[in-house]
Amino acid sequence: MDVFSDPTNIDVYVTGFLWILKLTAAGAVGALVIGVVLAAMRVSPVPVLRGFGTLWVNTFRNTPLTLIVFFCYFGLFSTLGLSLADDIDLNNYWLGVIGLAVYTAAFVCEAIRSGINTVPAGQAEAARAIGMSFFQTLTMVILPQAGRAVVAPLGSIFIALAKNATIVGTIGLAESSNAMKELINANGDAVIPIFLVFAGTFAIVLIPTGYAFGWLANRLAVKR
C-alpha cells in the first residue's frame, strides 16, 4: 500500500501535529503569562524583582532549549520525582510545556520590554499625575500600548515556539518529528516525500500565521 494512504500512517501524522498544536498553545499561554510578569518585574522600581527578571532572561535565553527540555525530564521528573500526569505521554507533554514556556517567556519578556520603551515617558507621567499607582499605570496605560507595539515580534516568537515544540520529541513524545522519524524508518523508499509533507505542513500553517500577525499589528497600532 502507498505510504500516504495507509490509515495507520495518517494517524501517526495527525497525532504528531496535534501534539505540536497542543504544545504550542499551552506553551504560548504559559510564556505570555510568565513573560508579562517578568517584563513588569524588569521595569519595576524594586531592585530584587528587577534582578530576578534579569536573571531569568539571561539564564533561559542563553541555554539551549534541548538542555532545558532534557532537564525537565531527567531533572524534574526522573530525579526530583515531579510527575504531572499518570499517562506517560501526558506527563512528557506537560514537562515539555514547562520547558517551552520558561524558555519562550524570556523572549516574550524582552519583546514586551522593548514595547514598553516605545511608549513615551509622558504617558506614564500623565497617569501618575492623575493619581494612578505603579500597577494601574502599568496595566492600564503602559502595557496596552506596549502590547500593541509588539504584536509582530510576538508573532515571530510564537512561530519559533511552534517549531521549537518538536524538541519535546527528544523526551519521547510522539510529536511530528518523532512521527516523521517513525514513518521514514518504516518506509525507506519514500524518505524525501515524507520529509516534504512534514516540512510543508509547518510551512503551510506558519506562513499565513506570520501574515496574520503582521495584519493584526497594523490594525492594532497606536496612532501618535
Binding site: R128, I130, G131, K223
Partner: protein, 248 residues
C-alpha cells in the same frame, strides 16, 4: 481671592540633576484661588519647580506642603495627593490608546472608583466646556494640538482638583492654537481655580495672573503682581529678560 492658609508652600527647596543645582533654596507659597505665573529663561528651573509640586520630580532637600500636608514620598498617599493636583503638560500626554472621552473618565473611574455613568455626564460637560464635546469618540491623534491640550485640561478637571499645574501648556502648539488654550485657562483663573502656570505667554501673565514669579539659574529672583513686575522689575536679571522678550 486669597484667604486663610496657603494651599501650596515650598520652603527651602533644593534639587540637583547630577552636579547641576536646578532649584536653589526656592521658597514660594501659593494662596487658595491664586494664579501664579512662573516665567524665566530656558533652563532656569521653572518646569522642575512645577513638576516638584506633585513630585514628578523628587527634591533633594527642603519641604513642599500641599493643603497643610507635607508631600508624601511615595505609595498610596502620594497617589492620593496627585489625584488632587491636576497637571497639564507641554506635550499633552493624552493616553494614545483611549478615546477622548475615555481619557477624561479614566482617572475618576479607576483612581477614585466613581460610577461610570455619573463620570460620563461630568466628563461630557467638561468636554463641552472646552469645546470638544463633538469629538468625544475620537482618538487623540485625530485632534489638533490645541484640541488635545484642551482635552488634557478637561482630563485634569475631571478629578475635581484643588489646584492645577501647567507646565508650558502652549509651547508645543502652532501659533494659531495658542489662543484657544489660553482662553480656557483664563476662564479657569476667573473662576477662582488655584493655578501655577509655567509659560512664555506674557499676555496671559499680564491679564490672568495674580502674581508673577521670575526665576533665573535655579533661583526665585522676583515675585510681584503682574503690573508691577512688567512696569517696574526690581532685579537686573528680570529687566534684562524682559528687554529681550518685549522688544519685538
Amino acid at each position: 481671592m486669597p484667604t486663610s492658609e496657603p494651599l501650596i508652600v515650598l520652603d527651602g527647596v533644593n534639587k540637583y540633576f547630577g552636579p547641576l543645582h536646578v532649584l536653589q533654596d526656592v521658597s514660594l507659597s501659593v494662596a487658595r484661588g491664586e494664579v501664579v505665573v512662573v516665567i524665566g529663561p530656558s533652563g532656569s528651573g521653572k518646569s522642575t519647580l512645577c513638576r516638584a509640586i506633585n513630585r514628578l520630580e523628587p527634591i533633594n532637600s527642603g519641604t513642599i506642603t500641599f493643603d497643610g500636608q507635607t508631600l508624601p514620598a511615595e505609595g498610596k498617599a502620594l497617589a492620593r495627593l496627585r489625584s488632587e493636583v491636576g497637571m497639564v503638560f507641554q506635550s499633552f500626554n493624552l493616553f494614545a490608546h483611549k478615546t477622548i472621552l475615555q481619557n477624561v473618565m479614566l482617572g475618576p473611574v479607576k483612581v477614585r472608583g466613581e460610577k461610570p455613568a455619573a463620570v460620563r455626564e461630568r466628563a461630557m460637560a467638561l468636554l463641552d466646556r472646552v469645546g470638544i464635546a463633538s469629538q468625544a469618540e475620537k482618538y487623540p491623534a485625530q485632534l489638533s494640538g490645541g484640541q488635545q491640550q484642551r482635552v488634557a485640561i478637561a482630563r485634569a478637571l475631571a478629578m475635581q482638583p484643588k489646584a492645577l499645574l501647567f507646565d508650558e501648556p502652549t509651547s508645543a502648539l502652532d501659533p494659531e492654537m495658542v489662543g484657544e488654550v489660553l482662553d480656557v485657562m483664563t476662564s479657569l483663573a476667573r473662576e477662582g481655580m488655584t493655578m501655577v502656570v509655567v509659560t512664555h505667554e506674557m499676555g496671559f501673565a499680564r491679564h490672568a495672573a495674580n502674581r508673577v514669579v521670575f526665576m533665573a539659574d535655579g533661583q526665585l529672583v522676583e515675585s510681584a503682581p503682574p503690573a508691577e513686575f512688567f512696569e517696574n522689575p526690581k532685579s537686573e536679571r528680570a529687566r534684562d529678560f524682559l528687554s529681550k522678550i518685549l522688544t519685538h
